[in-house]
């Protein structure tokens, strides 16, 4: 029986395998030394991610490689997104250490769950099969549910976790349902085969595929957090401990983006005309609702949650504006590049913004209201400047990276005759600018409420500054990252 068993090629999945084994190792380390040496687990987690980054770079071949019976793919897009994910998770670990320590939450579980979530993201990013996608989604989601509830004593966090879990389970159900229809119509779970079958389907299957597509888009919409699947975002962002919010708001966006590309572009490109319309509706309503609702928020985390909704909407605008010319991806590639660039720019700014909350929080005090940012310029001009950079980047004001992301998306819209949508998007950007400006106003124009010095470690100061300067410098030189995105997508799709 074992005669026809061929060992799969493990190389493409080496980062995942390594991360899994290292995470299990850290689990034991935590068990034995964790109680006495709290610093060990975060340090080892960072090391594990750096090792993964090293391996990812070294195993990058350039051309897509399928393995595990065509269930797993290693291409440049996945390598690039995985590297970005490591960077984001490392930043999250460094930002959140002090915060979690001050609350007695810096147990090993926190870091280990993040590593498992990272593994889930990596599987999502490299998935070439509907089941692999689902596996990744669930690994990520289950870790996230537990992370949100990590502060067991907080009723707010528990409530948020419960909400997240119920809605997340529903979304997983929708996604699975959609996948089952795809399987029913095409007879395959492999994305490449689905794409092939979809291009030569008979008329009867057309309805089933379209029906399945609707559910897929709903599942994607939930993962990205766009209207009308956005309900969990504000509650979870606000309820979760800020360090966890920081995590949810950053790296998983890369995975969700990868999932969108895999499902819609690789799998269902034949139906691009249909999903583009769907995404356009999701995008436009997200931009409108996200920006309008953000104005009314006084809680900074909630405001950023609505801002995240509008940003993901903006990203979808790019995906929705690809040029369609038969079954060929390449004319639409510029649009997907813009979307990817937008995600990178957004995650960079988002990391920094939530990092600011962690910077200002201390034991027994959550700096999550807008008023807590009062007079930051008097307390620490440097970090006020960093926060200013993050806010203006999110608002899409040049010279920061957020502007070029918006610019790239708008260019795609106008190029595909969606000029009215572009005008709509900029008008809501203007509305959005108001609430970012308000944060800057609070920091610079108001008098400080408390004058306690910022008590955070050197590592956090350093990484947050690097984060801020990166947002500024990538704004001055936007081409490099844009080219990277373009190259990664061109070689992958």
């Amino acid at each position: 029986m074992l005669n026809n068993f061929v060992m799969p090629d493990f190389n493409p999945a080496m980062p995942e395998i390594l991360l899994l084994s290292m995470t299990c190792g850290i689990l034991f380390v935590d068990l034995i030394f964790g109680a006495r040496h709290r610093w060990m687990v975060p340090l080892l987690s960072v090391v594990a991610l750096l090792v993964c980054a090293f391996v990812t770079v070294n195993t990058a071949i350039g051309d897509p490689v399928l393995t595990f019976g065509n269930m797993f793919i290693d291409d440049l897009m996945s390598d690039f997104l995985k590297l970005l994910t490591y960077v984001a998770v490392v930043a999250v670990i460094i930002y959140s250490r002090g915060y979690m320590k001050a609350r007695g939450l810096d147990k090993g579980e926190f870091y280990l769950l993040m590593l498992f979530a990272t593994l889930g993201m990596m599987v999502m990013i490299s998935a070439a099969n509907l089941l692999t996608i689902y596996l990744g989604v669930e690994l990520l989601s289950l870790s996230q549910y537990a992370l949100v509830a990590i502060d067991r004593k907080s009723t707010r966090a528990t409530e948020a976790a419960m909400k997240y879990f119920v809605l997340g389970a529903l979304a997983s159900g929708l996604l699975l349902y959609g996948m089952s229809m795809l399987y029913g119509a095409t007879g395959s779970l492999q994305l490449g085969e689905i794409a092939q079958a979809a291009s030569q389907q008979s008329t009867g299957n057309h309805t089933v595929l379209l029906f399945g597509l609707v559910f897929l888009v709903a599942g994607i919409g939930f993962k990205l957090g766009v209207v009308p699947f956005h309900m969990w975002i504000p509650d979870v962002y606000e309820g979760a401990p800020t360090a966890v919010t920081l995590f949810i708001a950053s790296a998983p966006k890369f995975a969700a983006f990868a999932m969108t590309i895999r499902l819609l572009v690789t799998g269902m490109f034949e139906y691009a005309e249909h999903w583009q319309t769907m995404l356009l509706i999701l995008a436009v309503s997200s931009i409108a609702l996200g920006n309008l609702a953000a104005i009314a928020q006084t809680n900074f985390k909630r405001m950023l949650a609505y801002s995240a909704i509008s940003h993901m909407g903006f990203m979808l605008l790019a995906l929705a504006s690809g040029v369609l010319a038969g079954g060929d991806h390449s004319p639409a590639m510029a649009a997907y590049t813009s979307a990817m660039y937008y995600v990178v720019a957004y995650v960079l700014s988002s990391l920094g913004s939530f990092g600011m909350i962690l910077l200002l929080s201390r034991a027994g005090f959550e700096a999550e209201n807008l008023t807590d940012f009062k007079g930051l310029n008097k307390r620490s001009p440097w970090f006020a400047l960093m926060a200013l950079i993050f806010m203006f980047s999110m608002a899409g004001i040049p010279f920061f990276v957020g502007f070029f992301a918006k610019f790239a998306v708008l260019s795609m819209l106008v190029a595909t005759e969606h000029t009215a949508t572009a005008v709509f998007a900029v008008i809501f950007s203007l509305i959005g600018a108001f609430y970012y400006l308000r944060v800057v106003k609070v920091m610079y124009f108001d008098a400080p409420q408390d004058n306690l010095p910022l008590r955070v470690g050197f590592d956090m100061r350093l990484v947050l500054s690097v984060n801020g300067l990166a947002v500024a410098l990538l704004g001055l030189f936007p081409q490099q990252v844009m080219s990277l995105c373009q190259f990664a997508l061109l070689r992958s799709l």
Partner: protein
């Protein structure tokens, strides 16, 4: 044509110089302000060769720098100046030096940040005047809002938050639509090169839409009636330096935009919409003039006077003759000096009495004779007295307007009366008469630093009034070239 990096220096010297101020400036007040002054003067010095090496016989872009910036979207780092933009770079760098001097003592809170913000602002505005790539222009245009927002909001008056946010959102509203128009032009030309856009054939309907997008953006910036309401708020609340930069430079950006974008890129729409713009300009000139007359606050009065003067500028552009456009350009430069001087004068009074109300003053000349003389001189220039720079521009535009249409010229010329009325009436109430109260009685005359600042401006105003030829000579070729462009239909 000289190829060099002069324009890059003009942009980046002040910006890079400001960074140490922002990072280390808090440590020593005296070192940081001398450093700021040194950077501002360096910023002015690097712009001087623009004037001396400028070839005024050519309408082509000079001191051109071109390098790819974002090849994915064919965006270039493309700089160059012609006779229209070059004088503004000098004006801007010159005003920055004055602003640093003017904030020498009066800014007590976070002075290094204050000066740093002005230096960054100065570099960004130089960038606006020399950017020849749409995205580069837009990036400078919009990022210059950030320092001004902070300047008004941090160092402004009691209602500063409202004024700062209003300023930001108003300007952003216009410029975002301009961005869409730029991207549209890119989608149809494959380039963000402004000079390429000027050759582009655009259908009439689209021209109208692009013109409206540009108009919204530039009209807010100028500002034209009825989108001018942010300006009095911003001026009144801004610190003296902020008002000076707003009036002297920031308002010119909108007017410059008309010349660089609206007229040459969509000439047919510009012709079609000219009556509308002329109408708005005349309303600004006459109606805002009367509004200025009734102001009780000196800064507000000068703010309205700025709107009225800028109405003259937009009028000069849209009558499409060289007298009008050159006159408007002279008027812009002159207004840069005069309004800066007016705000500095008001700043001098405000620093001593902490009031901007006309009613709180009277008989200032008795206690501040040197200041009184200069203030009266600038007031005369503001009302367009011959031999001051204010007269030259207004006279040229009025002549051009009469050539275009007698009644337009007639209405426009009333500004000479209304302008004289509100300015001189204010001066009469503030400067002349008996000493009004004990505050005025205690006033001390201006010191050496203030005298230097105002004296320099007075010299400029007088020089430009007596002999404007060097300035008009520089811009002549470029204006002629522009008019030729505007005359060709792009349908």
């Amino acid at each position: 044509m000289m190829s060099s990096h002069l324009l890059s220096f003009a942009i980046w010297v002040p910006i890079v110089g400001a960074l140490p101020l922002l990072v280390f400036g808090a440590s020593s007040r005296s070192v940081s302000r001398w450093f700021a002054l040194a950077v501002a003067i360096a910023g002015l010095v690097v712009t001087l060769p623009l004037w001396t090496h400028f070839d005024s016989s050519s309408a082509a872009m000079q001191f051109v720098e071109q390098a790819p910036w974002i090849p994915s979207f064919n965006v270039q780092y493309f700089l160059g100046v012609d006779g229209i933009s070059m004088p503004f770079i000098l004006l801007n760098s010159f005003i920055t030096v004055l602003v640093v001097l003017a904030g020498w003592q009066v800014i007590e809170d976070k002075q290094a940040q204050y000066m740093g913000a002005f230096l960054i602002m100065s570099g960004l505005m130089n960038g606006i005047f020399c950017a020849l790539d749409g995205v580069l222009f837009y990036v400078f245009f919009e990022s210059s809002l950030i320092p001004m927002y902070l300047i008004i909001g941090i160092w402004g008056g009691p209602n500063r938050v409202y004024a700062a946010i209003k300023f930001f959102l108003y300007t952003l509203m216009g410029s975002l639509l301009m961005l869409v128009a730029f991207i549209y032009l890119f989608a149809h030309s494959g380039s963000f090169n402004v000079l390429d856009w000027q050759q582009l054939q655009i259908p009439g309907k689209v021209q109208q839409l692009i013109f409206i997008a540009f108009l919204l953006s530039f009209a807010v910036k100028v500002p034209m009636w009825p989108v001018h309401t942010w300006l009095p708020d911003a001026h009144v609340e801004a610190p003296t330096g902020g008002s000076v930069v707003l009036a002297a430079i920031a308002l010119k950006l909108g007017a410059y935009g008309f010349l660089r974008f609206s007229l040459p890129i969509v000439p047919d729409a510009s012709h079609a919409m000219a009556p509308f713009v002329i109408g708005l300009s005349l309303i600004a000139v006459v109606y805002i003039g009367f509004v200025a007359l009734v102001q009780a606050d000196m800064k507000k009065l000068v703010a309205y006077s700025s709107i009225s003067h800028m109405g003259f500028v937009t009028l000069g552009f849209f009558i499409f003759n060289s007298l009008g456009i050159e006159g408007a350009l002279v008027q812009m430069i002159s207004h840069g000096f005069v309004s800066a001087a007016m705000f500095l004068c008001i700043g001098v009074l405000y620093d001593r009495v902490h009031s901007r109300q006309i009613a709180d003053y009277g008989g200032v000349i008795n206690t501040m004779p040197k200041f009184g003389a200069l203030f009266v001189f600038f007031a005369m220039a503001n009302s367009g007295l011959p031999a001051t720079s204010g007269f030259v521009g207004e006279f040229m535009v009025a002549l051009g307007a009469v050539k275009f249409n007698f009644w337009t010229g007639f209405v426009a010329a009333t500004t000479l009366i209304v302008g004289a009325a509100y300015t001189l009436w204010m001066v009469k109430r503030v400067v002349f008469g008996a000493v009004a109260n004990r505050h005025v009685a205690k006033l001390s005359d201006i010191g050496g630093r203030e005298f230097l600042v105002l004296g320099l401006l007075a010299a400029c105003v007088l020089a430009l009034g007596l002999y404007p030829f060097p300035l008009t000579e520089v811009m002549h070729a470029s204006v002629d070239n522009l008019l030729r462009h505007v005359a060709i239909s792009k349908l």
